[in-house]
């Protein structure tokens, strides 16, 4: 049995409370507030206390999918990435880079947001990148 405590940050609001997730054999079993984090100092709200619930939700969709004959069908990573790359290049060649847009996320990390806008700007060649925070 492998027990571990990992210190991380709550994903639910802009407070950014520190928390410790406890796992046994790759399963998150508990959430604890971080005492040393300067923001929450040992507290969490109801959303924070329930964080582990949503990660393991049975509704997670974990297979890459492509729409074929009207339905989303399971495919391999290689197939899906080849398809996306080819389609994006085709649309870029046919209609120009500004015919493609990127909607980034306030739920993703800094590093993901950084690479996503780099994908838009450096690889596709458009500044059509925004995120939903306005909303």
């Amino acid at each position: 049995m492998n027990f571990s405590n990992v210190s991380t940050i709550c994903p639910y609001c802009g407070c950014g409370c520190g928390m410790i997730l406890q796992t046994i054999d790759q399963e998150i079993i508990n959430t604890l507030p971080s005492k040393s984090n300067p923001i929450n100092e040992g507290k969490l709200c109801i959303k924070g206390w329930n964080v582990h619930d949503f990660v393991v939700s049975s509704q997670r969709a974990t297979q890459p999918l492509i729409r074929k004959d009207g339905d989303l069908k399971e495919v391999s990573w290689n197939e899906v990435l080849e398809y996306v790359a080819k389609e994006l290049m085709r649309i870029k060649d046919q209609y120009g880079p500004d015919s493609i847009a990127f909607m980034s996320s306030a739920k993703c990390t800094n590093e993901e947001n950084f690479l996503f806008q780099k994908l838009a700007r450096a690889v596709v060649g458009t500044n059509n990148v925004d995120h939903c925070a306005r909303l």
């Binding site: 639910y12 802009g14 997670r60 806008q117």
Partner: protein
Amino acid sequence: MAGLAAAFGSGAMTNSIAELEDTKCIFIIGSNTSEAHPLIATRILRAKEKGAKLIVADPRKIQIASYADCHVQQRLGSDVALINGMMNIILKEGWEDKEFISERTEGIDALREMVEKFTPEKVEAISGVKEQDLRKIAELYAKSEVSSIVYAMGITQHISGVDNVKSLANLAMMCGNMGKEGGGVNPLRGQNNVQGACDMGALPNVFPGYQKVGDEKVTEKFEKDWNVKLSRKPGLTITDMFPAIEEGRLKALYVLAENPMLSDPDLKHVKKALSALDLLIVQDLFLTETAQLAQVYLPGVSFAEKDGTFVNTERRVQRIRKVIEPLGESRSDLKIIQELSAKMGYPMEYEDPSQVQEEIARLTPSYGGITYSRIENDGLQWPCPNEDHPGTVYLHKDKFTRGLGLFHAVDYVPPDELPDEEYPLALTTGRIFAHFHTGTMTRKSSALNKEVEKGFLEINPKDANKLGILGGEKVKAISRRGEISIEVLLTERMDEGVVFLPFHFAESAANVITNPAFDPVAKIPEYKVCAVRIEKIDEKKEG
């Protein structure tokens, strides 16, 4: 954040969360703090225990208002008039900070002229707030030793959102509450990493660190580092994207962990637009309403399955850590982007997220001194320009980012859609404590869903009585754009004539009926006000 950037030169929370506890006066406007940011509310209540004054301006009797020294219920969309009215009194009484105004700011004369028009009588006519209450909140805010302003989406989600924020900046500068501990103008970010998404240039007009697209020096710096030619033309905002799809200018959309099918102001419209795309790619955790329309779905991972950083509302960059391996076939979003990029002929070589952070630091001056080893424990607040810099607790200490703080003479503009005979009630939307934004994450959690299972419409018992509606009854809420059916909750929290609808529930998505008119600068849709009519549902017909 365009309002703050115009006034101060930088669009982020100016002060820090911990400072709230020791300030002398807190002015909360348009933030349901105890439900949306519970742990910030805790700080505010602690400040209150230590003797701080608390002012709340909110159309609803929100929970934190019950602790306020003064709670005013201004009419929806009347914030500019209310704040101008406060400044009218402050200037008349000579409560402003004359030294701060002359040394640190510019533009006071035009503002003085503007607020002169906002006499208490006029403000009462627009906002419904009585002169004695207006006077009380003006005095509490201006005469306390140091006062902090706290606001959230109740201020920004208006057609006048940017004006509202500029008005708050005016008020803070007028009273010398900027660049000092316990003061400031403090937006509370809704989603956990909104600040980070903005900081990292997930915006059509700026690169990471708010460096302008089109600025030749900036663009060349990125071109050299990335070894490509870059576009100098600012891109489309989300609100501009949908019309662009309809006009056929936009063919492909790549959506990262967002659900515009729930969070966008005019849903019918959004569905039509998304279905018209040649290619819709959705990368998310769940088959959301948006993903169900996609050609391609890429399974990303939750925060517990990856390493990286989030930035909280007070600009603190903090580490998140991988707790478990990705579920099933899902992969970290970083890995997906890198592999896709390689297949498109532009390999991005990073062993792990810390190397991405190195690139961020290299290209983003305000992040220049942030490394994974420095944020192992506590995180760092930007600006942090170099490795020896301790980070910045509050902004604009001796001078504003833009040099002098700029006053804006802001006039009151009525909301785009006011109640009328046909649609007699004002509807406002917002969040409730157990759920998070569109609920993509929280509604999957059974414990949270139990707390508040269904959508509901809050209405004052007197209004319900007039319509012959009982608590818990299902009714139709109809606007010029659409209708939903929903259960009502009778509560004194609501003023007469105003109804409230939380926006987390797909079955009765508030955005079917809200108004997509948006602020011309920040392009934030006016979720906070629209006009509706409530109708009883005829049981026999509906079965």
